[in-house]
């Protein structure tokens, strides 16, 4: 039986380091190639030795697909392609291809230049790696090779995020990457057609959350920011350079404009300007409203939001600062956090998910005393708020996607084991499909039931459809024919044709049955009675009384003879070919009833 095998190298019952191996109909595909933010050792990258101990990865993988530019989905790419060694094609969408190298370069800088690590990939490696990338458009079917084809769908989440359908023959897998089912301030909602894949691999970050209305969340967020600013406090919003940052900027920008607020909003520089540039460039990937209004005003040209300088952090008075990175694990956001943490007037708003082990995760779990580098203890007096702004689908969104795509199996990745367990149950209850949640390194095998195309001659088809009832929609229809499997091809031909081709003689198989009935009358009278009865019972069939005293019902032959010993007993000889089934049963039952 054909099967699809899925092995997560990362993101199996975990968030971060997304990397999933799929083998489908003999093709091996790697989905995403991310890094883990919680680790600084070897565990940060997927264990590629799982694929092969020695030898080029290229020989074992047909292609690599990157769903979007977040580092936990593409962070290990240069390491994988340049240091481990892979020369095959890497597929991603145009915006991802444009933005990905910037983030990788930034990541490299922080790791190598700031932390001083060696044996890390270089700028040149990033460039070389990007040369192997093939950019795809939405809904464009790309033939990787003769059999394997992939197709991207819009996923919302961040600019250029895509879901991918991987298809070999009639078997298919959909990998969602990260996606969002509710449109936000700058991106639209994920959408997929009813493609009925054999397997849907979906993220499940918010497996147990059904979020408030987006508007509620926005209102809460603005209220909190506004109150703090009115009080004269400073607001720190740690974000990743791309994605939520742009959404929140648009949100604050419009709010400032509407309320005529004067407090400055800063955005930590560097990546941002480049990033905004790309948002302006790929305006077709944003949502309808921005696309419609960009002629008058490009929403990504902010009026109130200015570039941040390190010195501004010490300025008196209220301000709002967006700083990277989003989980407070390093960089500017952490520096500012340290400066402001002591004042209870200030506030930090975490707009997204925080991986375990990061400062963000710690303060959100209510820790008020943090141990920093060098044994320093930092007391957190500022207010800590959490606002789920990350653009992942919530439980309802995941269900919605499953309903849209109608997969035969679902596999959960990119989430926490406990929460996955819960969602898994819900999915199984709801859709009656199998749901899997393999851990890293664990292989899930899914058996598929592929439909196999068979050639049929038109004559046979017409002949067969003419018999019996009319073709009924969507219902399978039984046909009579011979399947010839020859030279890797399947053909359905008529039995005569098959016999001819194979040079065989036709044999007829007939069943006979003798029924004894007590009837004192003459033979021909008995026959006549049987004939009349059959005519009455089998209205739709042709019942004939032949001159030689036998009755035929279609191909069934009935003859009556007197019993050699007992003249009162007549023996009915019934003979039918193996093809006649139902009719025979009717006959038998009716005749027995009659007798």
């Amino acid at each position: 039986m054909p099967e699809i095998k899925v092995t997560p190298l990362g993101a199996g019952q975990d968030v971060g380091r997304s990397c999933i191996l799929v083998s489908i109909a003999g093709k091996n595909v790697m989905l995403d190639c991310g890094m883990h933010m919680g680790y600084n050792d070897d565990r940060r990258f997927p264990d590629f030795s799982y694929i092969t101990q020695n030898g080029r990865l290229t020989d074992f993988l047909d292609c690599v697909i990157i769903s979007h530019f977040h580092l936990d989905h593409c962070g290990a790419l240069p390491y994988f392609s340049e240091m481990v060694g892979y020369d095959g094609p890497i597929y991603m969408t145009h915006p991802t291809k444009a933005i990905c190298p910037i983030l990788l370069e930034d990541y490299r800088k922080i790791t190598v230049d700031k932390k001083g690590e060696t044996n890390f990939f270089t700028s040149q490696m990033i460039k070389d790696c990007m040369k192997k990338v093939v950019a795809v458009h939405l809904h464009q079917t790309v033939q990787v090779d003769e059999e394997l084809e992939i197709k991207a769908y819009y996923a919302g989440h961040v600019l250029g995020a895509a879901m991918f359908q991987i298809k070999v023959g009639c078997e298919s897998v959909v990998y969602t990457g990260d996606y969002n089912m509710t449109p936000d301030r700058h991106l639209g909602a994920a959408w997929i057609d009813k493609c009925r894949p054999d397997l849907l691999i979906t993220e499940s970050t918010y497996a147990t959350t059904i979020r408030d209305s987006k508007r509620c969340r926005e209102r809460d967020f603005l209220k909190k920011v506004h109150e703090t600013v009115e009080r004269g406090g400073k607001v720190l919003i740690p974000v990743f350079a791309l994605g939520r940052a742009q959404e929140l900027c648009i949100l604050l920008e419009t709010f400032w404009e509407r309320m005529n607020l004067k407090a400055p909003i800063y955005f930590s520089t560097g990546l941002t300007e480049k990033a905004n540039h790309y948002y302006k460039l790929f305006i077709t990937w944003t949502n309808q409203k921005i696309r419609k209004t960009f002629v008058q005003r490009n929403m990504f040209e902010f009026k109130h939001i200015k570039a941040f300088d390190r010195a501004f952090a010490d300025n008196p008075g209220p301000m709002v600062v967006f700083a990277t990175p989003g989980m407070l694990h390093a960089g500017q956001s952490l520096q500012i956090f340290r400066k402001w943490a002591g004042n209870e007037k200030n506030m930090v708003i975490m707009p997204g998910y925080c991986v375990q082990g990061t400062v963000g995760h710690k303060i959100l779990s209510g820790q008020r005393k943090l141990e920093m580098e060098g044994r320093q203890i930092l007391e957190v007096k500022m207010q800590v708020e959490y606002m789920s702004f990350s653009a992942h689908a919530d439980a309802k969104g995941i269900m919605q996607l499953i309903r849209q795509a109608e997969p035969r199996n679902v596999l959960l990745v990119h989430g926490e084991a406990k929460k996955m367990e819960f969602l898994k149950q819900k999915i199984e209850q709801e859709f009656h499909v199998n749901c899997y949640m393999p851990a890293n390194g664990e292989t899930t095998t899914i058996f598929t039931n592929p439909s196999i195309p068979v050639d049929i001659s038109l004559g046979l088809l017409k002949r067969e459809t003419a018999i019996g009832l009319l073709p009924d929609a969507k219902k399978p229809k039984l046909m009579h024919g011979t399947l010839i499997m020859k030279d890797n091809s399947f053909r359905l031909v008529s039995p005569e044709q098959a016999l001819k081709e194979l040079g065989l003689a036709e044999h007829q198989l007939r069943f006979t049955c003798r029924v004894h009935i007590q009837d004192p009358r003459k033979e021909h009278e008995t026959v006549l009675r049987v004939y009349n009865h059959l005519k009455g019972v089998l209205k739709d069939y042709s019942v004939q009384h032949l001159p030689d005293g036998s009755i035929t019902v279609e191909s069934i032959l009935i003859q009556a003879t007197a019993h050699s010993e007992d003249q009162g007993t007549k023996v009915l000889l019934v003979s039918w070919t193996y093809q006649v089934g139902i009719l025979e049963r009717t006959y038998i039952s009716s005749s027995s009833h009659w007798s």
Binding site: D212, S213, M259, Y386
Partner: protein, 905 residues
């Protein structure tokens, strides 16, 4: 192309029918009848190839066919149909049959049998579909004949098994349109097939082709519309269709479910996978809610639309639509609902509002069915979060705010805190939406004048004055400060003690505002200042109103002095016009009336002046220069008459006739001037004829009013009409000239209410010194915000004009949705104008203004003409002047500074 041709065919046919009604000359018909069908026959026989035959048929389709000859033509077509081997020709013939049976007055029952017979042997699916379409046409023409309908339905049922979706589609359409609706007929029907139309259509809900499924649902809806009560049994089938792969099927299914839910709201349906039951309407509501999060926007829109019109849904289901989190499944009655609510409040799902609360708790209810699927929950939340929504909300808010301001204008407040609160909130509104300025000021004006005593104690606080210290002078241009002043000054009008509390700069500001915003700031009795004009107390009725009296008196004066010397008349007119214009400025209530009459007098004055010209006494060729003045006068009078007719609301037919009369005079003047200055008679012929036609149509239009026009130009002209018609142009001109001079001056009766349409552009303000920069060749959007008063049908008439410095003018038609109607007689236009130009070297100003477009065909007079022609006409009438279209500028132009930059290469 094919569609285009088809359209033309239709056009031709409709035209024919009308003509037949008009001229029923029997002779003509008898002549055409045989030739028509015979010619077609000959043509078709001649045709050597299918393409040829198709060409003939196409040509034939362009020509009209009379009712009498339809049947003959049909016979010939059918004859050829049987002979024809080519499917495309047969298809065309089939479509022609349908078109022909549409001919008004033709009863197609005679060709029905033939049409049905053609179906028997037809092999081509396309032709079959077309033939069924023809049968549908025939059937719809013979709806009152049940046996015909039954027969057609039977035929359709027979073809339902066809393998082509097109044929099945048409069959279903036919059954939907013609299937028996009355119960009795169905029973009588002998045929088995036609007995239960609903079942037949229902069977095709599962057709393999989505188009046929859609057609089946549509046919079902069609039956419902025709009055058949659909069976409840369909509900289950319809629910299954909601999960169809194709959006058009789902969309139609949503409609069907809606219909059923309204037919059987109280029926009880079981909940699958449990033994509980629920009201049908609630179940349907849940299902439609569910479709709000469908993958296709077509379905989402349909579902959202229908949700709004669902009635009798239980309230707790309705409430759920507002909450996205409450994940009850809606499939159960109260108990289930409450259980689900508990489930939620027990925290099985987290709201994502708190960090860490999304850790899964132990499962509370393992038996809960389908928790997430099919919930009404959050349907509206989903809808609101949908992309399409964003823009509408902001527009909606604007309307709501304006309505609230209106409400506040006529509210009585009982405490000073109330006033204070209102003011504070309005100022908040002002800072948030600066465009609401005008509306807020107006609101405060009324608030102030209604509550002078309540405002009084607030004055020191509002003006932030201090008993001992001088406070800084507020910024005069701050809209919020102006708002406060408007409130205070209006209160001070009836509270003489208030000005004592003002500081010096307040008085200065008063003087400034009184001038700049006189409609908002009333005249005040201030110490050491004289009142400019005494306020008119509103209790005086219009008739006693001295200014009204003045208006009437001055008009009387003008009308009475008929026989003064021309010089005297001119002077008197000039004075009166000046008086009236001034009156209009002073008395806003009378402005429309005064302007209207002033315009009329102005026309008269121009006419008199033009007739005084020396031009008339001298040989024509010498005075080309003077003629310019006279023709300019004629032109201006024409323009003014259009203004009078179209710019004022409340103009009655009494006035219209006078206006048209004036216009006629202007045209006469034009004719005379042209006659004087052009050589040769040829062009005059046409002009004279045209003028006489106009006189004629004037007479027909205003026949009822003619008796009141004794001694007028037209009166005299009509007397001379017999002579005019036979005279040469030069004589006509002479007669006209004398008549024009001798005719008396008609009184212009004034209507009760008359308002002049006006517009005021609020934005752009025209004050900006910063040019609007944009790259040449691209467009820049300019926001235009204007208030319109007394404009009827602004959607059709108001245009925006943009004048570029190079003289290029651009006319923009705003979208109908850009007009809002905040109150009776008032409109607000908020729109965007796209500007573009080639590159300039330096910024320059463009002018933006509003125009009122008119079309004389739309006028009341034209309507009358149309009516009269309809009634009388057997003789051919000259077409009433084909509508003269034009525009009247009715707002002050606003200058906008723009700068198209050259594109960077």
């Amino acid at each position: 192309m094919a569609a285009h041709l088809k359209k033309r065919v239709y056009e031709e046919f409709t035209k024919v029918v009308q003509q037949q009604h008009e001229d029923l000359s029997a002779k003509k018909l008898r002549l055409t009848k045989p030739s028509k069908s015979a010619a077609l026959h000959v043509d078709l026989c001649k045709a050597t190839s299918p393409a040829d035959a198709l060409q003939y048929l196409l040509q034939f389709a362009r020509k009209p066919v009379e009712v009498e000859s339809v049947e003959g033509v049909v016979r010939i077509l059918l004859e050829h149909y049987y002979k024809e081997n080519d499917a495309s020709v047969r298809l065309k013939i089939a479509s022609l049959l349908g078109l022909l049976s549409k001919t008004a007055g033709f009863s197609p029952d005679c060709i029905m049998d033939d049409a049905i017979n053609t179906l028997q042997n037809e092999k081509s699916h396309q032709v079959l579909a077309q033939l069924l379409d023809t049968l549908l046409v025939i059937g719809t023409k013979l709806t009152e004949n049940p046996s015909v309908r039954m027969r057609l339905v039977e035929v359709a049922c027979k073809h339902l098994t066809d393998s082509s979706h097109g044929v099945r589609n048409k069959c279903l359409q036919l059954i939907g349109c013609l299937g028996p609706v009355e119960k009795g007929v169905a029973k009588e029907a002998e045929s088995q097939a036609a007995k239960d139309v609903q079942k037949i259509i229902g069977d095709h809900f599962n057709d393999q082709d989505p188009r046929v499924r859609t057609a089946a649902i549509k046919a079902m809806l069609q039956l419902h519309e025709r009055g058949l009560k659909l069976q409840q049994a369909i509900y289950g089938q319809a629910c299954k269709l909601l999960a169809d792969d194709y959006e058009q099927v789902r969309s139609a299914a949503v409609q069907l479910i809606w219909v059923l839910s309204q037919l059987y709201p109280e029926s009880i349906v079981p909940i699958p996978s449990s033994n509980e039951e629920i009201r049908l309407v609630d179940d349907a509501f849940g299902k439609i809610c569910h479709m709000v999060s469908d993958g296709s926007w077509v379905v989402r829109v349909q579902a959202a639309k229908l949700l709004g019109s669902m009635q009798q849904v239980s309230s707790h289901f309705l409430e759920q639509t507002l909450d996205k989190k409450l994940m009850s499944d809606l499939r159960r009655k109260r108990t289930a609902h409450e259980r689900a609510k508990e489930l939620y409040s027990s925290g099985e799902f987290s709201s994502g509002r708190k960090w860490g609360d999304d850790a899964p708790k132990e499962e509370v209810d393992t038996g809960a069915v389908n928790l997430i699927e099919s919930g009404a929950c959050g349907a509206f939340v989903h809808g609101l979060e949908d992309e399409m929504y964003g823009n509408c909300v902001s527009l909606l808010c604007l309307d709501i705010r304006e309505a609230l301001h209106e409400l506040l204008c006529c509210t009585n407040v009982s405490t000073k805190e109330g006033i204070h609160l209102a003011l504070v909130e309005l100022l908040k509104n002002l800072t948030k939406y600066p465009t609401d300025r005008e509306s807020i000021w107006k609101c405060l004006k009324f608030l102030g004048s209604r509550h002078p005593t309540l405002v009084l104690p607030l004055v020191p606080e509002l003006l932030s004055t201090h008993p001992f210290f001088d406070t800084p002078e507020p910024d005069m241009d701050d809209p919020a400060y102006i708002a406060v002043l408007v409130l205070i000054f209006n209160a001070a009008k009836s509270c003489p003690t208030m000005p004592a509390l003002f500081s010096d700069h307040t008085f200065r500001h008063y003087a400034y505002l009184r001038d700049s915003l006189s409609h908002l700031v009333p005249p005040l009795r201030l110490p050491g200042r004289k009142l400019v004009s005494s306020p008119v107390s509103p209790s005086i009725t219009p008739h006693e109103d001295p200014s009204q009296q003045f208006l009437h008196q001055s008009l009387e004066r003008v009308y009475n002095l008929q026989h003064l010397d021309p010089q005297g008349i001119q002077e008197l007119l000039e004075f009166t016009i000046r008086d009236l214009q001034r009156l209009g400025e002073l008395q806003s209530e009378l402005a429309g009336m005064a302007d209207f009459t002033a315009t009329y007098l102005q026309c008269q004055l121009l006419l008199i002046k033009a007739l005084q010209e020396k031009l008339w006494n001298v040989a024509a060729p010498l005075y080309l220069k003077q003629n310019a003045l006279a023709s300019a006068a004629a032109k201006q009078i024409l323009e003014e008459t259009y203004k009078m007719e179209f710019m004022y609301s409340g103009v009655e037919s009494r006035q219209v006739v006078i206006i048209h009369h004036m216009r006629l005079q202007a045209k006469a003047l034009q004719l005379i001037v042209t006659a004087r200055t052009t050589r040769g008679v040829e062009p005059l012929f046409g002009m004279c004829e045209k003028f006489l036609q106009e006189v004629d149509s004037f007479q027909r239009c205003f026949i009822a009013e003619l008796p009141q026009m004794q001694g007028s130009f037209v009166d005299k002209l009509l007397d001379l009409m017999p002579r005019l018609v036979t005279s040469k142009p030069s004589e006509v001109v002479k007669i006209l000239q004398t008549t024009l001079r001798q005719s008396t001056f008609l009184h212009l009766p004034l209507p009760e209410r008359l308002h002049r349409a006006s517009a005021n552009i609020i934005e752009p303000t025209g004050e900006s010194d910063n040019p609007l920069r944009f790259t040449s060749g691209l467009v820049v959007a300019l926001d235009v915000d204007a208030t319109l008063e007394h404009v009827q049908d602004p959607q059709g008439t108001v245009k925006v004009q943009v004048l570029y410095p190079d003289g290029q003018a651009q006319l923009i038609h705003p979208k109908p949705a850009d007009f809002r109607n905040p109150g009776p007689g008032r409109h607000r236009l908020i729109t965007q104008v796209y500007l573009s130009h080639t590159a300039w070297t330096e910024p320059c100003q463009i002018e933006v203004r509003l125009l009122l477009a008119y079309n004389s065909n739309r006028s009341k007079a034209a309507a009358k003409i149309a009516k009269s022609t309809w009634n009388e006409s057997l003789e051919a009438l000259p077409q009433p002047e084909t509508g003269i279209e034009g525009t009247i500028p009715f707002s002050k132009p606003v200058k906008v500074y723009i700068m198209p930059k050259p594109a960077r290469r």
